[in-house]
Amino acid sequence: MPLSALTGTRLRERRLALGLKQAELAQRVGISASYLNLIEHNRRRIADDLLTTMAQALDVPLATLQEGHAGQLVDGLRAAAAAVPGAAAEVERVEDLLGRFPGWSAALVELHDRSRALGRVVEVLNDRMAHDPHLSASLHEVLSAVSSVRTTAAILADTEDIDADWRARFHRNLHEDSERLAQGAEALVAYLDASGQGQDHTISTPQDEVESWAEACDWDLAHAEDIAQSPHLASAAGRVLAAGLQAQYATDLAAIPTPAFNSAMAAGADPLTLARSFGVPVLAAFRRMALRAGSGFGLLICDGSGTLTLRKAIAGFSPPRFGAACPLWPLFTALARPETPVEAVIALPGPQGARLRARAFAQVRYPGGFRGPELREAAMLLAPEPAGAEPALEVGPTCRICPRPACPARREPSILQG
């Protein structure tokens, strides 16, 4: 990063290029020379109106004096300092540090960012170990087989006077358990090995496989890879889920054909008007809007327990892969109030946290007739929302990795605090 990345340094460079003394420039803009000296050495922030006056006095466009990347580095350095409060970093001198050591500053910010990213990976893996039913079942199967092998082998080794029938029975059991152990270990290795092929080095579940398969065709599921042949669909469960999603996609496409859909969207249709126009459920309209090539919408769908059953990502928002999500999401508000549209602007945590418009809706089905059971399904359609006056609902991904310290809905402490 060049030294001129900071406003004060840029001012100084421009003043020297014009051959002006500090006192001369200070007099022109109506401040003291000592104050200008502090500004030029990045020890005082410059107010917007003074910067405008400075730009006029130095005959340069305002934008050439404003901070760009440097401003992000200042935020990054402050975040790094806040992460290690015990170090008592001189936060008030952060701009001085950046001005004098821009390379070291950038390195510090990058290391802090990497540390946070690694923390998130650890959290995701921890979350998976605790909640992933597939991994838990695989480990239980292997552990049961190991227990049986150990006990049976010890009996055979330690019991000299064992009856011939018992011996034969235990030999057979050992053989069965060793086969079971081999199959369980293979399944576990395949399950874990799939994680190494992803960029985030985590583990894949059937739902992850389906999302990977859908993303490979940009959610244009009519042109997705053949389910039986796709390298993304490694498990039988993943292939079953993919087939169900593809069939639903075809139904939605037939109900809302592309030309009519494009006309409706061009006319400004929202999910409710789209559903009414085509006589389809609101959730079908949500899916039709989000699950198509080039769609800018994200989509989350959950069942009556709140478990996410479909995740189409949108920039800046990463829903948890396991465990419970943030209870403040409009998705769950809708889940509790079926057939009622819920709309809100939501803001994700952090200085660069995404601002999104969320529209959520829930439907109820009674597949068994009047006597139930009642099945609920809710969906939340997400779209980027520009900055504006509309207040945003502050939400997070899930408590464990949400840094909001005083959230009224917090279930458990965050690993990102202290």
Binding site: S147, T151, D158, N173
Partner: protein
């Protein structure tokens, strides 16, 4: 160490091995694989000790333990619970529910004999 043991375990090969080990120690061992049927078997066979797997079909080991402790007739019945390593939370719940002892799978046969002896003779 004579005594009647009801073994509630859904893994047939593990159940067979435990039955063999304890039978040679003089115990009468009755095996039940289904959690939902376990409570009625306890009423039928009046065991001196129940060896209870934590993860069972039909009804979990924790649910069975809670039912035993809620019934005055089985309130004091000794229960040895089989758990897997990593089931720390379940172990805590079992301790609160009044389990007599734990044993983690995979276990050594000598450990099984020692724990059962201690519970039957204690």
């Amino acid at each position: 160490m004579p005594g009647r043991v009801l073994l509630i375990e859904d893994e047939p090969n593990i159940a067979e091995a435990i039955r063999f080990i304890l039978s040679r120690e003089g115990c009468e061992v009755v095996v039940e694989a289904d959690g939902a049927r376990a409570l009625s078997r306890i009423a039928d066979c009046a065991p001196d000790l129940v060896i209870l797997d934590l993860m069972l079909p039909g009804m979990s080991g924790l649910e069975i333990l809670s039912a035993l402790r809620a019934n005055p007739a089985t309130l004091g019945l000794k229960v040895l619970m089989l758990t897997a390593k990593g089931q720390g939370r379940d172990r805590e719940a079992a301790e609160r529910a009044g389990v007599s002892a734990f044993m983690a799978k995979p276990f050594a046969n000598a450990e099984m004999r020692a724990k059962v002896r201690a519970l039957l003779e204690g």
